[in-house]
């Protein structure tokens, strides 16, 4: 078999991910996390008058819980089932920073932990910032 036909065959032969099941779990877990966030928001509003402070505190709480669950080795097991459900909310970002931080401590605090901490989250920050600049320019042009 030549390269092209073998490559074509292998792509069509390979089992694809169970999309329907993955979507369903992503919806349940992702929705669950967001509902939990809303509950936290309502709870915090009982004690904090500022709405933006309460929302920030919700993010902080979700990040803290994710860091803890990643640290004790539970988060990746949940994510295996939840997929995009834990990946898309702020939990995914927190896990992406904490997991390399744990892993690369063995290579030292500077060139290990410090350098490798943003190995996955780095591109998100770079392109997130770039996207926000572009959005800002468009917004500025529209409102001129």
């Amino acid at each position: 078999m030549n390269k092209e036909s073998f490559s074509y065959y292998s792509v069509h032969h390979s089992k694809s991910s169970p999309i329907l099941k993955d979507c369903l779990f992503a919806f349940i877990f992702g929705g669950g996390i967001c509902t939990f966030g809303e509950l936290l928001f309502n709870l915090y509003q009982m004690f904090i008058s500022s709405e933006s402070d309460a929302r920030t505190l919700v993010s902080i709480t979700l990040i803290a819980i994710t860091c803890f669950l990643t640290g004790i080795g539970v988060f990746d097991k949940i994510a295996k089932i939840a997929g995009a459900g834990t990946f898309v909310p702020i939990t995914g970002f927190a896990n992406a920073v904490v997991s390399p931080a744990i892993d690369y401590t063995a290579e030292g605090y500077i060139l290990g932990l410090g350098a490798k901490m943003f190995i996955i989250a780095g591109p998100v920050i770079v392109y997130g910032t770039v996207a926000s600049v572009i959005y800002g320019i468009i917004y500025w042009l529209i409102t001129l």
Binding site: S7, S10, A79, S99, D103
Partner: protein, 335 residues
């Protein structure tokens, strides 16, 4: 050494004195757990880093193989070993205080087959009498090196394979005798079928396995049915099924006697391992544990072991290059 094209048949009797296997937690949960010599429920093996644990596993497998052969370190002329860590450091550290001649080899999942055939050729040359052949991989060291941090939450694609935490050692000799020997070998050629998906290494390696099998059977007096077992390692379910489906195009008739180490090592229904096992340790522990046991118990006589390797690097994948693959064949027989 008699050569007719690429099939090498050894003139001397290359005896397999012993094999020893060490495996980790996930492998014990698999169907072959009873065939392994040393099992560890903690993948750290009492060490502070996973890299050190792999070195520890290599040392344990070597010690165990020597013990089973009832020979000393000083009886070995050479050690040939390899693993998946950059520059094969797991073996370099394991051999650091041994003062034995050492060859480091890299063939990804085909490392054990590469080591066995190199040992056979070197022993046949008469320059060596006894060679130890070793190979290892560790799930956590390869995840860190090739993929993502261990605690990173992601879903695996169904065609991906799990790196086996395992080490195996074989002792081959022309001066001591045993019931099992290596009869011949075929050195593989690089086969690049243009597959670029690093999560589908089974497909990339299946082309190489078919190429080597075709070359072997084109030159050997033995047919597919003469073997009790034709064993590839380790294509996983995905790659092994490609071999089964495409064998006829290569003039091969593979039946029930065809198996794959990546499929054998785990229970794919219960263990959530996607397409199966991979890594230098996978075919090494399946051959060293399960297959050697069956040979010694006289359940099987002739085995054609085809070690397959996906020779990609984490950089080549990012540069969107295809995966070059290789397969080496080793004929193992019981007297």
């Amino acid at each position: 050494m008699s050569c007719f094209d690429s099939l090498i048949r050894f003139n001397k009797e290359i005896n397999v004195l012993s094999s020893a296997t060490v495996v980790g937690e996930r492998e014990i949960e698999g169907p072959l757990s009873e065939y392994f010599d040393i099992t560890m429920s903690d993948d750290r093996f009492g060490e502070e880093t996973f890299e050190k644990s792999e070195t520890q596993m290599v040392k344990m497998a070597i010690e165990c193989a020597l013990k089973k052969s009832r020979i000393q370190y000083s009886d070995l002329n050479l050690v040939i070993g390899g693993d998946l860590q950059n520059q094969c450091v797991a073996h370099s550290f394991a051999m650091a205080d041994k003062k034995i001649q050492y060859f480091g080899v890299y063939g990804a999942c085909s490392t054990m087959a590469q080591g066995l055939l190199a040992s056979g050729i070197l022993l046949d040359s008469g320059h060596f009498n006894t060679i130890l052949c070793s190979s290892s991989s560790h799930f956590s060291t390869s995840e860190r090196q090739f993929r993502f941090p261990l605690e990173y939450g992601l879903q695996r694609t169904p065609t991906s394979q799990m790196t086996v935490t395992g080490a195996a050692s074989f002792i081959l000799s022309t001066s001591y005798t045993s019931g099992v020997f290596v009869r011949g070998c075929v050195i593989g050629r690089i086969v690049d079928k243009g597959i670029k998906d690093a999560n589908n290494m089974g497909a990339a390696m299946s082309g190489a396995a078919l190429d080597t099998l075709q070359r072997y059977f084109a030159q050997s007096e033995l047919g597919e049915k003469d073997f009790d077992l034709i064993l590839t390692g380790d294509l996983g379910e995905e790659g092994a099924n490609i071999v089964r489906e495409k064998a006829h195009l290569y003039g091969l008739e593979l039946g029930e006697n065809y198996m794959d180490c990546g499929e054998l090592i785990y229970d794919r229904q219960k263990q959530n391992v996607c397409s199966g096992g991979s890594g230098c340790g996978c075919s090494a522990v399946v051959l060293g544990g399960y297959i050697m046991d069956r040979l010694q118990k006289r359940e099987i006589k002739k085995v054609l072991f085809v070690g397959t390797g996906a020779l990609l690097s984490s950089g080549s994948v990012l540069q969107k290059l295809s995966i070059p693959a290789i397969a080496h064949a080793v004929e193992i027989e019981r007297k």
